[in-house]
């Protein structure tokens, strides 16, 4: 019975993960091999696809851009959303309650709904077609989720702790920096890994907000090169693997924080 269950679990997981396996396996096969037997594992793996895609497409540039954009966005999200969450945590005025409620609404907002005006707003402040513009938008867009996670976590921190420090004469900013922020570390880990994966995978915002002239992210690059690689599957799969490796590694390293953040943010 126990062996049967284990076998069933392995078979079900294998079927379920088959698409992921296809991407990884076929990135290391030659085109004739891929077309003849796509499901076969790469026996005698080749790196032609991987090296080919790096030389043809602007993949390395895209990877650098995506790293830059993802890194800056999540660093900014961490700072601004923990600050807002702390301000909301410490105050009970109607303004802070209203801000808290409006921010929650941001959780359900579909990106296609606001991208046209976001482009206009960025143009108005002179940040259209630029990395800073995209980073600011992504930060604003994912801040609600981060605020939710931080607020949920802060409930376990007694307000008296901050109040005691302020009686001792510390300013709110220094309390935040030296007392609260270190306590928030587990929540910060969750925010960084979850938002990191989401920002890395974003496709429509960079497509629209960076425009055609800028160097773009690795997702937009993949999309633009699909037609180009229609004849070269090895390179297409390699490209897909390049897009996927960073998030897979990031997730595997921090997977405990990933699940905790997704459940903690929502069960409270």
């Amino acid at each position: 019975m126990r062996q049967l269950r284990a076998l069933l679990a392995i078979v079900v997981s294998a079927i379920f993960l088959f698409p992921l396996y296809l991407v990884i396996a076929n990135a290391f096969k030659t085109d004739p091999e891929i077309l003849r037997s796509p499901a076969k594992p790469p026996i005698g793996p080749t790196l032609d696809g991987m090296s080919g895609v790096l030389s043809v497409g602007d993949v390395s540039g895209g990877l650098v851009n995506s790293l830059l954009i993802t890194g800056s966005t999540i660093a900014l999200i961490m700072v601004v959303s923990s600050m807002l969450a702390f301000a909301l945590h410490m105050s009970n005025s109607w303004i802070s309650n209203a801000v808290g409620a409006v921010i929650l609404f941001g959780l359900i907002l579909p990106t296609p709904v606001i991208l046209i005006p976001v482009f206009r707003v960025l143009k108005y402040i002179g940040l259209e077609n630029s990395f800073p513009g995209l980073i600011l938008f992504l930060c604003a867009y994912y801040a609600p989720f981060a605020v939710l996670v931080y607020r949920g976590f802060m409930r376990s921190i007694p307000r008296e702790l901050a109040e005691a420090a302020s009686i001792d004469g510390a300013s709110l900013a220094s309390i935040y920096w030296s007392v609260i922020l270190p306590l928030l570390r587990p929540a910060t880990a969750s925010v960084l890994v979850i938002c990191g994966v989401w920002v890395w995978n974003e496709f429509l915002p960079p497509l629209v907000l960076l425009g055609p002239l800028q160097g773009n992210t690795v997702t937009v690059g993949l999309f633009r090169s699909v037609g180009q690689f229609d004849v070269n599957y090895g390179q297409l799969f390699s490209y897909m693997l390049f897009v996927s490796i960073p998030v897979l590694v990031f997730y595997l390293l921090l997977q405990r924080h990933f699940v905790r953040g997704l459940t903690a943010g929502a069960t409270k």
């Binding site: 392995i10 296809l22 579909p110 296609p112 496709f203």
Partner: protein, 280 residues
């Protein structure tokens, strides 16, 4: 309070204001190329009402949303029950089973396009067991199913992990007590498991709904909205009208409708599901 101001300002400028501008655009004829904007009242909405293409996009979106509530909850719970055990094998399986959720939807869409192609792996497998494989991507109805499958793949991964976490949190002595009282497997599930995983049902349902209603990346990569416009979602329709056809007014009317639908369905589901959680 001052510490929250920069974030609130950023959110106001790049999320709240754009929603207001979208509503404003939806009541106007907007031409960015000529920098013209003129008030037309509700005529953009009237055009949408008359447009068969938009009604179809709405239908596709809602259909996928409905399927995305049912499938990930059902399969996720089933997988979780199967994988809810302590040994290292199950821990490892749970970790890798979540991987699809972190992949780029674009990569997922492209992979499914390739797997579901007429001579793709799925049809090869079907033919091997004697079933003729259908045209997944080039037939209008199955193209919608294909898009739904690609999204469901990611959402099932997500749901499984949430349900496992919920199952692991249930104290085993509850089940032991129920067994001693002679409760059958079904009764134990009905009276212990199902009520106690209620928070996981809530999160899975909300995340699935939101992901389905904003669906764009999967569709673009998998079918491009085709054949024709048969698998076009509202997200795709908005971007095509707004950017390809330069009809920002019309696109904004679609956007406002999508936002209202998203807000209404999530608020109603949250109400219903939260009540279920409280009734424990």
């Amino acid at each position: 309070m001052a510490m929250g101001a920069p974030t609130a300002a950023l959110f106001a400028a790049l999320v709240v204001a754009p929603i207001g501008i979208t509503v404003h655009y939806s009541l106007n004829d907007v031409n960015f190329l000529r920098d013209e904007i003129s008030w037309v009242g509700f005529s953009n909405y009237a055009k949408l009402w008359e447009s068969g293409d938009f009604r179809h996009a709405l239908y596709v979106t809602l259909l996928i949303a409905a399927a995305s509530v049912v499938v990930p909850n059902a399969l996720g719970l089933l997988f979780a029950v199967l994988l809810d055990a302590g040994s290292r094998l199950y821990t490892t399986l749970r970790i890798i089973l979540f991987a699809p959720f972190v992949l780029s939807p674009l990569v997922v869409g492209l992979t499914f396009r390739w797997t579901l192609a007429n001579d793709g792996s799925l049809n090869n497998a079907l033919e091997a067991i004697g079933i003729p494989g259908p045209e997944w991507i080039s037939s209008p109805n199955l193209a919608v199913v294909s898009v739904g499958l690609a999204l469901a793949w990611q959402l099932v991964a997500f749901a499984t992990v949430l349900y496992v976490a919920a199952l692991r949190a249930i104290p085993t002595d509850l089940y032991e007590a129920a067994s001693i009282d002679g409760a059958s497997g079904y009764l134990r599930f009905r009276l212990i498991t199902w009520p106690l995983v209620a928070p996981a049902v809530t999160i899975t349902t909300l995340i699935s709904l939101i992901s389905a209603l904003k669906l764009y990346d999967h569709v673009v990569a998998l079918t491009g909205g085709g054949p024709g416009r048969s698998s076009e979602t509202v997200g795709l329709a908005i971007i095509r009208a707004g950017f390809t056809q330069n009809r920002a007014g019309l696109a904004s009317a679609m956007a406002v409708l999508l936002l209202v639908i998203t807000a209404a369905t999530t608020v109603i589901s949250l109400r219903v599901l939260r009540r279920r959680e409280v009734e424990l």
